[in-house]
Amino acid sequence: MSAVAAMIDVAMIVVDGLDVRFGEGAAAVHAVRDARFTVAPGEAFGIVGESGSGKSTVLRALTGLNPDWTGRVAIAGMAQVAHRPREFYKQVQMVFQDPYGSLHPRHTVDRILSEPIAIHGLDKADSRIERVLVDVGLGPDFRFRYPHQLSGGQRQRVAIARALVLEPRILLLDEPTSALDVSVQAEILNLLGRLRREHDLTYMLVTHNLAVVAHMCDRLAVMNQGRIVEEMTVAQLRAGAPREAYTRQLLRASIGYDRQAAEALKTFD
């Protein structure tokens, strides 16, 4: 895998010196500081960190939802500016954290899935919608339902189907399972794994859950206070050999609640 990735010298995502600031003057927040990483085609790359570490902000800068960033971002070999052309969204799609908030409450599944097809002027809308619904394990029965007639897991499948309907090469996943209950989480993770193999997708996953990263990803970056403190492979994570003290603390916290661990928690600046 890594040998193949090395042969293709065009990385799928290149981020270099990415800075994101919100606000001005004394109230300014430096949300992301000098982030740099590359993601190879077909790779699954994770960013982990606690709430407010800036991991979702990186994702929003990559999608163009947040235009206030500086640095260099290249996706599929194309340098990106703040405003993205329509074509960009055929390459890159995103799945949001909360499936209760990411589907329009007054639109049927059919409308949700046919909208991207209409925007990009693609043909054969019916067969595309039916295919993608089968792909995410829902089937045609769900096509004309409203989101409030679906469970959380079904909603997230619809959100994944919406991301896939344009047949993108990159899928950005913003905590795709954290709003779901545990048994459904496993289903969605397995679905995402299968879709990645079948459609040859590149994943970038943002989460606070190290187990999810270990399950889904090949490599990961650890973020704290807007900085990437460490980058490593999942094998290194599994071996329990992080270099940085912050990563070790995160790893310990992720195992479960432990009074000793909780008392030993430190802030790393």
Binding site: L65, F88, F96, H104, P105, E115, I119, F144, R145, R162
Partner: protein
């Protein structure tokens, strides 16, 4: 036998409407509407409102058949007669049958309300959603214009516009519409501000949709329910403003049987011939109440936050 098949057909339709897995766009949309209708049926006061409004529509549509006399036919020998079998609601100062004038006035009231809503709804909705969604300069300019209109008392501003445009029912409608849109723009903007940062708007932006598609297809459907509720509740106010303009002689002109103008002409005889002013007053009251009850019922059905 026939009733048996009808009942089965009725149940089949009901099952089709409430199907868990609709087979087509039309079915899921109709099913949704049916669920709302069932919810609406459970509110007796709202049903009273709906019946009053529907009755107004029916009376307006069937006015030539419901009224046995011309609303304009004068009979000075029989002026200011008390209610009797010949004239159910009596006659006015020119001997015209008040019942017939009332029935013919229903369509005028309906026209005023309908035209004002057709002008005000889309204008308020577009100004509010565009200002709220685009923000920045659009927001500042559009909202300051709205503020200017809100700064005047509504009836006074309507009076000024009618005075400038000249008295008449069409100008009264235009004047009411000009003064009535700002609150709707405010509501639409407030709704848009809560919607614009939600994930489903981010999601459609990530699909490559432009502002026009997002505002028309995604923001406006969510603003519609609060706007419909507000408009229905405001209809009483619109009717009263129109009646007020008619009363002041700036709205409908004689001999038009507009209810406000009828009250105005009956004012002079209020103590001795009470029915001339009171009957159209009761009509305005009942119709306004009907719209208010309907609006309250619609709020229960349409407002997603209420559930």
């Amino acid at each position: 036998m026939a009733s048996e098949t009808n009942r089965i057909d009725g149940e089949g339709l009901r099952a089709w409407l409430l199907a868990e897995t609709p087979r087509s766009r039309a079915q899921s949309r109709l099913g949704q509407a049916y669920v709302r209708w069932l919810h609406f049926l459970r509110n007796p006061l709202a049903m009273v409102g709906l019946v009053i409004v529907l009755a107004l529509v029916v009376v307006a549509a069937l006015a030539p058949w419901l009224a046995d006399q011309s609303p304009y036919a004068q009979d000075l020998a029989r002026r200011l007669q008390a209610p009797s079998p010949a004239h159910w609601f009596g006659t006015d100062e020119l001997g015209r049958d008040i019942y017939s004038r009332l029935v013919h006035g229903a369509s005028i009231t309906l026209m005023i309300v309908g035209l004002v809503v057709i002008i005000v709804g889309p204008v308020g909705l577009m100004v509010g959603t565009v200002a709220g969604y685009l923000g920045g300069w659009f927001d500042t300019v559009l909202m300051r214009v709205t503020d200017v209109f809100l700064a005047f008392p509504r009836l006074i501003l309507a009076l000024a516009f009618v005075a400038a445009l000249g008295p008449g029912i069409e100008n009264a409608i235009i004047a009411i519409a000009i003064t009535a849109w700002p609150p709707y723009a405010r509501i639409a903007r407030a709704e848009t501000l809560t919607i614009r940062n939600s994930d489903f708007i981010s999601a459609i932006r990530l699909q490559g949709a432009g502002p026009l598609r997002i505002i028309l297809g995604h923001v406006i459907p969510l603003c519609m329910s609060s706007l419909i509720i507000r408009i229905t509740l405001d209809m009483a106010g619109i009717i009263l403003t129109a009646a007020g303009l008619g009363f002041l002689g700036l709205g409908a002109q004689p001999p038009m049987p507009e209810w406000g103008a009828m009250i105005s002409s009956g004012r002079k005889f209020l103590l001795d011939q009470w029915w001339v002013a009171t009957i159209p007053g009761i009509a305005i009251f009942v119709v306004s109440l009907g719209f208010n009850l309907l609006g309250d019922g619609l709020r229960d059905v349409l407002d997603p936050k209420g559930k």
